[in-house]
């Protein structure tokens, strides 16, 4: 880093004074973008060198090139498995989020519902929900996708419920006074202030939930049931000692997670920009 700033400084003396800081700033921005890429490449190279140099057996760690090779071979399989798991995530996410929003709307109005649901959501968020998977397989049948979708829905419920409820509650006192001064009806206040104010929170909750949802969908497959998704493929490849292939499926799972994350994050950004607020929800 010191080398880069040194060059920028030297260039600064050569060109006019006005462009020097700008150039330095853009160099800094480039550095910020480049740093993670460089780190990623460095890790990959070190990984490859370690595996080849130390002659590590594949069960310990296959090399990146071996994984890439396997990936090329099984791409159609990864694709179909990702579609199966992705469908589970999508359905679970929609069902869980819709239920959570509905519950939050009711909880915002009723102390009793809030009292019942808020501790439940808090408890659910720290419970290992995937443990439900085998029992759900018994309930709905091992050939059904319902158990996995249900696991995703339950996992998604907690964060969406909590953030949406917070959004519905965060009406600023000044806005409440204003609506009262306008003699606005309850429905008008809900429509003009409460719901638009809560939307960014809902989508932030959805973004958080999408990641945990993908994780839940993949992991739920480790607990038996249908053998068509990424999780099942990873376990069966690992069981057959095809470690590089298992890693290829892991890569598919990572891409699936990214797709859901980027999609929900994009929607969140659009909503937050339109609404001029970014809720601070970690």
């Amino acid at each position: 880093m010191s080398a880069t700033s040194g060059t920028a400084g030297a260039a600064g003396t050569a060109v006019t004074a006005g462009t020097a800081p700008r150039r330095r700033a853009s160099l800094a921005r480039l550095g910020r973008l480049l740093a993670p890429v460089l780190l990623g490449v460095a890790v990959l190279v070190a990984w490859q060198a370690l595996v080849v140099g130390a002659d590590l057996p594949p069960y310990l760690l296959p090399s990146p090139t071996a994984i890439a090779e396997q990936l090329r071979e099984v791409v159609p399989l990864v694709w179909s498995a990702a579609l199966a798991t992705g469908a589970n995530v999508l359905v679970g996410l929609l069902v869980g989020a819709a239920t959570a929003v509905l519950a939050a709307v009711v909880a915002a109005r009723s102390r009793m519902v809030d009292g019942l649901l808020s501790p439940t959501a808090a408890a659910v968020s720290v419970m290992p929900i995937v443990a439900l998977a085998p029992a759900l397989n018994t309930l709905f049948g091992t050939t059904s996708t319902t158990p996995r979708r249900l696991v995703v829905a339950v996992v998604v419920f907690a964060p969406v419920f909590v953030t949406t409820l917070r959004g519905l509650r965060q009406v600023q006192p000044v806005h409440r006074d204003l609506m009262r001064a306008y003699a606005a009806t309850g429905a008008q206040t809900t429509r003009t202030v409460t719901i638009p104010g809560a939307l960014p929170y809902l989508f932030t909750g959805l973004r958080i939930a999408s990641s945990t949802g993908v994780i839940a969908a993949v992991v739920a497959e480790y607990f038996g049931g249908l053998q068509n998704g990424l999780g099942s493929r990873i376990t069966s490849a690992a069981a057959n000692s095809a470690y590089a292939r298992a890693w290829a499926f892991v890569l598919g799972a990572i891409v699936l997670g990214l797709v859901f994350y980027l999609a929900t994050a994009a929607v969140e950004r659009v909503v937050a920009r339109r609404h001029g607020t970014v809720p601070d929800v970690t």
Binding site: Q172, V174, H175, D177, L178, M179, R180, A181, Y182, A183, A184, Q188, T192, V193, P196, G197, R274, H275, G276, T277
Partner: protein, 300 residues
């Protein structure tokens, strides 16, 4: 608690006669005529908190004429904002009566007799500037075209025509507050309630906004109840400055400001000897130093 009323009566005599309608009656009781915008009679407000009860207002009497500009000034906790909120029917008095244009505050609120602005602009961040100004009209079922025309007029009035399609976060604090004031004027109210609307602005912006507010009030002819912390602001804007003291919140004195007609007040006035005299009068009233006050005011 007769001293406040006495002070009121004493100070009522030399009330300015800038606007013909603003004849300030010296009779604190009795039916309020049509020329009265706000009539507060023996109002008290007690809040119950965990720590016990707090008397925010104690036996307050105040009458404000139609078209009159009155400021409420006093240290924190003197109940000036509470009084404004009672007039706006955002809170209810513990005892006593309030009338707004001869009706109860609740009826006046439901009939949209007043416009209101707070220290926070309170704009809805997801609505454009124009849509924010239209909000009260929209809530009361005014048609789209009429709304747009009214919003355009109001934005021209506050000098923000070019920003109609902007969003609040793209505006400076002073511009946001101007939008809030435009919004408070949307229903052509004959009473404006303003709770430290310039409190969060820097001094330069603040003075410009004050000059603008004077002009707006002259154009609309509305009565104004203006809560503030600032002595020069109160003096510059008002025909009467109501001085309050805390624990319990009471009116200690009403200082008439005998300056030019409100409509003719310009920035030059800020350097006028009469202006300084009025500032001194209010300051002394706040510190309880004038012989006019019956008792000392605790200002810490």
């Amino acid at each position: 608690m007769s001293d406040a009323r006495t002070a009121l009566d004493e100070q009522d005599a030399p009330a300015p006669v800038a606007v013909p309608a603003s004849t300030v009656t010296a009779v604190p009781d009795g039916p309020a005529g049509p020329a009265t915008a706000v009539d507060v009679r023996g109002v008290s407000k007690v809040f119950t908190t965990k720590a016990g009860t707090v008397t925010a207002l104690d036996d307050v009497h105040l009458r404000i004429a139609a078209g009159e500009f009155v400021s409420l000034i006093g240290p924190s906790g003197c109940g000036k904002s509470t009084l404004l909120r009672l007039v706006a029917d955002l809170d209810e008095p513990s005892s006593g009566e309030i009338e707004v244009f001869g009706r109860s505050p609740r009826v006046a609120r439901e009939a949209q007799d007043y416009g209101i602005a707070f220290q926070q602009a309170g704009l809805l961040p997801w609505r454009t500037v124009a849509a924010n100004v239209e909000l009260p009209l929209e809530l009361h079922g005014v048609g789209r075209r009429e709304r747009a025309a009214r919003a355009a007029d109001l934005l021209a009035l506050v000098g923000l025509t070019d920003f109609a399609r902007h969003f609040p976060h793209q505006l400076s604090g002073g511009m946001q507050q101007r939008v809030a004031i435009a919004r408070s004027l949307a229903e052509r109210p004959s009473l404006l309630l303003m709770d430290e609307p310039f409190g969060a602005l820097d001094e330069m912006t603040r003075e410009r906004m004050q000059t603008e507010l004077v002009r707006l009030c002259a154009e609309t002819g509305a009565a104004v109840v203006f809560v503030t912390h600032s002595i020069p602001e109160a003096v510059f804007l008002s025909q009467r400055v109501v001085v309050m003291s805390p624990r319990p919140g009471r009116i200690t004195q009403v200082v008439p400001v005998d300056l030019a007609r409100t409509a003719e007040r310009t920035d030059d006035l800020r350097e006028d000897a009469a202006f300084f005299a009025a500032v001194t009068a209010v300051r002394e009233a706040l510190h309880g130093g004038t012989p006019a006050t019956a008792r000392g005011v605790d200002v810490r």
